[in-house]
């Protein structure tokens, strides 16, 4: 039995393993946090776990996640991504605790969804909110009440049956014990916020993550997430376009793009330029609002020739663009990461972010 006091609370989640559970693989990153740094201790790729897509679907996968000893920290931060999960950046006048109705409307829109587990976290530091301006002479109404400022929240929603299923994936009384359940997209943002954003905390930085069928762009201004957009275009759009043009299967097209055998710019440019123009519109809007200029764009998740993506991005957005490799921003214990896994380190971004989020959350 362990008793958590204020003194040892900070140490409780110092040793954490982040786990991203997908249907094809489970990615594990164990970190150890000290007051000065976050160190990656071990990484592992484990068998995938099928999560239920609907409440009616019953999957017997209890106690099926067994983490190898070197990666088995006392606590686990789990990240999942299911089609029914929702993550949005919402703007609220009041905190969700004060006005839950407005918060839910912002999250779900007009169609309220039942049986969801919902969580909010404010993106800006509440203690760092600027003091309201002094009231004008003669403006009596402003004397009594300070003007309400818009507050941004990351809102996450996950079906209950998925969360309950994830909780049962871990054997009891063994390491790791599940302590946090996050959405993959939120965990990725956490990793980025402790990577390039912390490295340059005064700049306006954007992160574009490309997944199979969609892309998301997250924009951080002075360390705070200020914009989050989704675009319905991902790796498969590029792969199918190249496959169609060259008469290949999508697998061969992806292989060709990654090996730089031919220059696919003429084929991929129309697709990618459309995407990057939308990204540029978003970043320019935020830059004007924040009275700043975009300092850099980081791209991750690209499986269809990152070199072509970077080239087109730079020409479209007119700003430094680079591929984000998550392990580069953290200390790595010697021999913690096998060479084969270092090459595919982007796959461990979510697991790393989940572990960091749990480890650094003072209220966890």
């Amino acid at each position: 039995m362990s008793i958590v006091t204020e003194k040892n609370k900070a140490k409780k989640y110092a040793d954490v393993v982040g786990l991203e559970i997908t249907g094809t693989a489970t990615y594990a990153v164990r970190i150890f946090r000290t007051p000065r740094k976050i160190e990656i201790v071990s990484v592992a790729e484990l068998p995938g776990v099928q999560l239920p897509n609907s409440e009616e679907e019953v999957i017997k996968n209890a106690a099926s996640v067994v983490v190898p000893r070197q990666a088995a920290a006392p606590y686990a931060a789990v990240a999942v991504n299911v089609p029914s999960a929702i993550m949005r950046l919402v703007v609220l006048k009041k905190s969700p605790d004060e006005d839950a109705d407005a918060a839910l409307t912002e999250l779900f829109g007009t169609s309220r969804l039942a049986d969801y587990r919902i969580g909010f976290v404010e993106t800006s530091d509440p203690d760092a909110i600027a003091e309201p301006e002094a009231p004008q002479a003669g403006n009596d109404s402003s004397k009594d009440k300070a003007p309400e400022k818009d507050r941004m929240y990351i809102a996450c929603a996950l079906p209950n049956h998925v969360a309950e299923n994830v909780a049962k994936l871990f054997p009891e009384a063994r390491h790791p014990a599940p302590a946090s359940l996050q959405l993959s997209s939120a965990a990725r943002l956490a990793a980025f916020s402790r990577g390039p954003v912390r490295r340059d905390s005064t700049a306006l930085l954007a992160h574009l993550h490309v997944s199979e069928n969609q892309s998301t762009v997250a924009i951080f201004s002075r360390g705070v997430l200020v914009a989050y957009r989704q675009f319905p275009m991902g790796n498969s759009a590029v792969a199918s376009r190249v496959a169609q043009e060259f008469g290949l299967t999508e697998e061969l097209a992806i292989e060709m793009l990654n090996e730089n055998q031919v220059d696919p710019s003429s084929v991929t440019a129309p697709v990618l330029t459309t995407l990057f123009r939308q990204v540029a519109l978003s970043t320019e809007f935020v830059a004007r609002r924040e009275k700043s200029a975009l300092s850099g764009l980081f791209i991750s998740g690209v499986t269809t020739g990152i070199a072509h993506w970077l080239k087109i991005a730079e020409s479209t957005i007119q700003t430094p663009v680079e591929q984000w490799l998550p392990f580069d921003d953290f200390a790595v214990r010697s021999r913690a990461i096998p060479r084969t896994m270092h090459i595919v380190q982007e796959k461990f971004t979510v697991a790393l972010g989940a572990a960091i989020a749990l480890s650094e959350d003072p209220e966890a």
Binding site: M1, I118, T123, A128, L189, R198, F220
Partner: protein, 231 residues
Amino acid sequence: MSSPILHVNLFVDSERLSPAPVRLKFIMPISAAFLAGLVITASFVVHALYISAESESKSLEIDLSDLKPKYAEFEKLQADSDALEASVVQVRCAKTAKYPIANFLVELAKVVPPSIQFNSLTYEYPTLPRAMPFAPEPASTNLVEEASLRISGRTSVHEDIAKFLETLQAENFSNIVKSADIPRGSFRQEQRKAVGADAGDVASLLFEVNIECVPRKFKSVSAKSGKEASK
């Protein structure tokens, strides 16, 4: 500006487990169940003990009510036994304190002058008061018993009375006689006819002698020594 960590935890508290092999959520119900079981068992045991003690107490009360008349009878028998034992002891004591009265009478007959005629000789000893008229005479518990002899008689020669009194106080009777005296006013003149047809009236003197006997000393002797003494 510090950058807040973007951590949205969708686990509810009950789903967040502890890595400790011993879980509070298991230990608490088990401990509670164990304690509850202990309390229930203890209460059953106490209740059973109470019932057992109660029934035992009732049976003892019943036995006691049965025993009360028997005990009263026993007490009565015990008292009778004690009384009889005391009597036996007293008899043994009396045996050791008996007067050699026969020898005394024989010696007395020898020393009585011919002119003296005894009318009566009474041996007096103290009697204890009786609680019940028909109860058996209780045995004396005195260690010393005062006794006295009263002799009444007549004589025609009054000097012989003085001689008789002296003889009684002589050494021969010292084992019986402690003192002897003639109570005041006990002398009386008597006129009676002499024996024979032509005999006239004879004048004689009636007298009384009180003899204070040597006290009888009762010795307490054991049953064994009593038996030996009787042999």
